[in-house]
Subunit: 759 residues, 2 copies
Amino acid sequence: MRNLIICVLTLVSFTAFAQSKDFNQYVNPFIGTKNMGHTYPGATVPFGMVQLSPETDSVWYEHEGRYNKPVYRYCAGYQYEDQTITGFSHTHFSGTGHSDLGDFLIIPTIGDLKLNPGTADKPESGYRSRYSHDQEFAEPNYYEVDLLDYNIKAQLTTSNRVGFHQYTFNSNDETHVILDCISNIYNHKEKNVWTFIRIENDSTVVGYRQTNGWARTRTVYFAMKFSKPIKSYGHKKYDKSIYKGFWRKFDETKNFPEMAGKLIRAYFNFDMKEGEKLKIKFALSPTSTRNALLNMNAEIPHWNFDKVKMDGQKLWNEELSRIEVETLTKADKETFYTAMYHSFLGPITYMDVDGSYKGLDQNIHKAKDFTNYTIFSLWDTYRALHPLFNLIQQKRNSDMIESMMAHYDQSVHKMLPIWSHYANENWCMIGYHSVPVIADAIVKGTYEGDKNAALAACVQTSKQGYFDGLKYYMDLGYVPEDKNSSSVSKTLEYAYDDWTIYNLATYLGDTDIANEYLKRSTYFKKVYNAESGFMQPKLSDGSWREEFDTMSTHGQGFIEGNAWNYGLYVPHDVATMVEMMGGKKKFSKHLDQLFTMEIDDHHIAETEDITRDGIIGNYVHGNEPGHHIPYLYNWTGDDWKTQERVRMIMRTMYSNDIDGLCGNDDAGQMSAWYIFSSLGFYPVCPGSDEYAIGSPLVKEAIINLENGKTLKIIAKDQSEKNVYVKKIEINGKKINRNYLKHDELMAGGTITFYMSKKR
Amino acid sequence: MRNLIICVLTLVSFTAFAQSKDFNQYVNPFIGTKNMGHTYPGATVPFGMVQLSPETDSVWYEHEGRYNKPVYRYCAGYQYEDQTITGFSHTHFSGTGHSDLGDFLIIPTIGDLKLNPGTADKPESGYRSRYSHDQEFAEPNYYEVDLLDYNIKAQLTTSNRVGFHQYTFNSNDETHVILDCISNIYNHKEKNVWTFIRIENDSTVVGYRQTNGWARTRTVYFAMKFSKPIKSYGHKKYDKSIYKGFWRKFDETKNFPEMAGKLIRAYFNFDMKEGEKLKIKFALSPTSTRNALLNMNAEIPHWNFDKVKMDGQKLWNEELSRIEVETLTKADKETFYTAMYHSFLGPITYMDVDGSYKGLDQNIHKAKDFTNYTIFSLWDTYRALHPLFNLIQQKRNSDMIESMMAHYDQSVHKMLPIWSHYANENWCMIGYHSVPVIADAIVKGTYEGDKNAALAACVQTSKQGYFDGLKYYMDLGYVPEDKNSSSVSKTLEYAYDDWTIYNLATYLGDTDIANEYLKRSTYFKKVYNAESGFMQPKLSDGSWREEFDTMSTHGQGFIEGNAWNYGLYVPHDVATMVEMMGGKKKFSKHLDQLFTMEIDDHHIAETEDITRDGIIGNYVHGNEPGHHIPYLYNWTGDDWKTQERVRMIMRTMYSNDIDGLCGNDDAGQMSAWYIFSSLGFYPVCPGSDEYAIGSPLVKEAIINLENGKTLKIIAKDQSEKNVYVKKIEINGKKINRNYLKHDELMAGGTITFYMSKKR
């Protein structure tokens, strides 16, 4: 059936890209759903607002007097090894190491009405159902599973702003659709602030929910339509919010079309026959129930499930076709296209079809001539994901920067986003990494907006003294550990961010700013202790903090990395760092040691977000601070070691299996690393226009650029053992350097890597 | 100073009305602030969105381990006998018997920062201050008081949507302005749902608060500007709502420009010198902080306190000048114009200057060509307040009906408002009394909108079966007491409301509807028990409920009235009721008995909303169900008894003193009764175009009609003892009936009452 649809699709569609090919077949949405990947298997379209996906145990429930929810496991709502599904909710992070979302959980049930989710070990105690991976299937924009306890087949697909459910009933029992507005993904159960629901008519329900989760003040509006009239309905309120109005007037709990309170579960009853389908369209909006309806009617004005699925799959195929690869194995192809898929799950669209969205100032704004996006996990994604967009999603990346500029305009702090999330600033992680994203786009010619305004926003952001030790950094040239935690990481990231302002200002011809920030970009030197040979935490009096464990991730001046990994973060001036740390030879050995040293279980245990699977020696690929490290050999003359390492990492840290991600995918950053590395180059220093050369994994790649040109990458004599790059030619002309320039890629043509098993 | 301002005012203003006269001088905003009147003394403009007024003890506080708040006393926030002021908040009901509002309490303090309100008996334990009535003054749109504990003079005035504070400091101490977003008027302390505050710059603060009070889902947005830069600021959060973002980043509590949570008190510090003034503009909006700022800038683009005060007072003088009266005493004039003042305090404007408002569906709407109003306390106000508007506020009343129609359009119940309140339906009290308001306006030619649409809305409203026993009423012809409480009151009010639909349909020529509702209008007969001679509760099997106490207000089939009072509610067919109850003579005696019988303390105690002061015999003037009763003698041939009674009621139930209202003013209904009765007539049956004649209290009145005509009322030989009307002439022509027609009033001219001491 799937093949037939795609066949139809190819007949009716025609784009500049390779539409006759089916790239969706190589995507396995289950990759990363086991353990730490934190991806979800559900349905969504590229950069879509709705992520309609199953939750396996993300619902808080009381069990033997205790509230249970191992929430970190459920950042994306789904864990492959779980045995039960609690329902299908409409919003999910992809790959994050922090949880939130999980809005508007829906599950169809039959038999006695149960409004509680029940527990994993006693599914029959609540509405949840057992399921089996044998009756479960996922592909881009489609997820299906059998809810075994109810003998209901669930099928999910989406448009950008609308989730489309299709449930096939296989009995004549009494049927309920539960809309659980208590259910949430988050690590405290007091997340719900307010829920409001209206039953507009016999098949339409609208409402909203405000939450105080990771995003402090977040409201999502919805509109839901059933394909069949509701027979009866009701709700239960689990809090003590009051409704004085209804006394003497109504039984509020049954067939009363207005519900409001903090904790609400609603249900809708239907008479369904064996074999009958119930379809639900569930639209979201950041601004109003009116616009949720507008979104629904604009995007899916019909009830044709297959058409919605097909339309979304067509979008996916178009996006995936931006890079066409030939690989050594089919498994590689699956890993590659699933990485592409994961890279295009976010940032997500955050506006209605008419451009309305809620701003950081909590007012409603209209996006003029751009698509507004949210969920910017910038400490992760500035590294490779946005640079990837600058190569193959330029228009979108420009709009993302426009979204950041809108955030900046609405920010009371006058700061670009740190971690922007549905009209909230989550302040997650460190640095101000909108800055390198903007600088990267501008120096690469991608950003279509006001470049000088963008530079001004970068400068303003980098001077907000009360932000995270920044005043100390500006005053002392480093963040002092006794005044602010993770001081070394912050100093290093600030210095790098500042270099990108320098480079941007230079590009735009503003010498004053360039000079100021060139100076700030050297501040990494202030936290280098030549005696220890490590970057290490310094106190406000200028002395080094005495206690210092280079192996520990906690309390040593770093965050989510130890001194061995995070201490190598000077991407903008690797040469100086190498020199500072003893020169090329010593530095190369230092890297060797990093990749080979033994690490004890104690230090493994405290390493965040990854397991031993994500570690090579003491090198941690499962988290971001080290993502550039394998490429640093290029600055030591030992390029072959980079080539060896990146191939090894691609082989051991990624696979096409459910546990194919060795750490959180981190909103696409892990996947973007893989895509670049597979192509043979990597943006060690976003904000510059250079890519360090690694070792391609693909046999061949065709990059269909937005400028209409085509860049072909050929890895000649590619094989499992031929990991070393002997020669590189651009359009047949050999280059004598170990980096590529952005313009060279954008010009199209052919880059040929000559592979060999000899270094 | 006041006289000077008004003098200036009269020089610059010119309207059709008597602008050279100062009617404001007769208004005493303190009338009704003692005991049950539930009026507030603060500043507001006619029908204004902001009611900026002191709170004397309406703040929940913990005292000796218990939460204290005798909330019913504080429906309007202020009780005259209290010794302390907790601050000044921006929204207040006038005269209601139910509490809510009290948004955004502000108080300036000096010395140590105290963020708790403290207790009445230990004011120094918190931010509240002692005050004295000797240093307190109020007039329309102006309130001033000395905060004795801080030696600060507080002056308040408003425009429609903006409160303007002026604080004069008399020392050089450290100064704080507290913005207490926990403070609220309501009877449960869990009212606060969410508060959001942003410090936009050194003098501008915006935010909003969502509450779950009497209105279930209510959000008010604000913008606040100080006349002087904030020196420093901070807040304390009293709840456990979380803000993950700020960890490691900020001290959120001090000088951090974003605050959010459930329970927040903020403070702003200033350096003030002796004699220096701090001014605060505080704008409200129903839709957004952006529009709150828009409202502020549109209405008060300057810092001239006196101009704002004067502009508002000019508006008041214009409104009050709609009726110019000469009275027997100055006290009467004060009572009269304060009644006018109280009648014009609501419904309140509920839209931004650009017409935006939040609808019942929680979406933002724009009012097209009308002013949108909210706070419709219709069970109270349909009786005399809206009829008064049909005489002297026709344009506004038409807009109020337009607001009701908008409410209807947005209602998921497809019902006109019952008690509409800031985008909420409070469902308070019984009946569907938008219907008589609409019918009254249409048959009197006031409503400018689509009359047939209005009729359709009335019909639809009256058929919502799940509403308050209505299905039983439609099926059985009465509400059965075993199925729904207050069944007799509901039956009587429904039957009356239905008569107004009949009359409206007749007026619009819809015979089918007219016939249907004429039948429904007779349903009052079904609850009359000829054996007992009373309307009394009937069960669903058709039998009378055995237990029946004609004196009790509780559980006897009535609400806020007993069988003696509420049982006489057949305003649309008094003649039939009189006949049914034994004929004119017997009915007249029945009324005599009502006004003279003894009532024991037990029954007094259970009578709601009033004290013994509001009772004459068993007649309760302090509540609405009996307001038409004094006029019923007109249907018995004993018109003189009506004349005697209404004069007696005006003398004993009203005065120009602080306790001059014998019960809740009920959003102007008590006052509107007084105004009509003072003029010599009263709308016993709104929805008809007739007014029953009573006995005027004024010596003379000039009613400046919106049609440009002038109606003069002359009470010839008026005196304290001459309460009987011997003759009435319209334009010199004697009439031989005891009612006036609306057209006769609107035609202008002169109505002369010939008064006598002999009946």
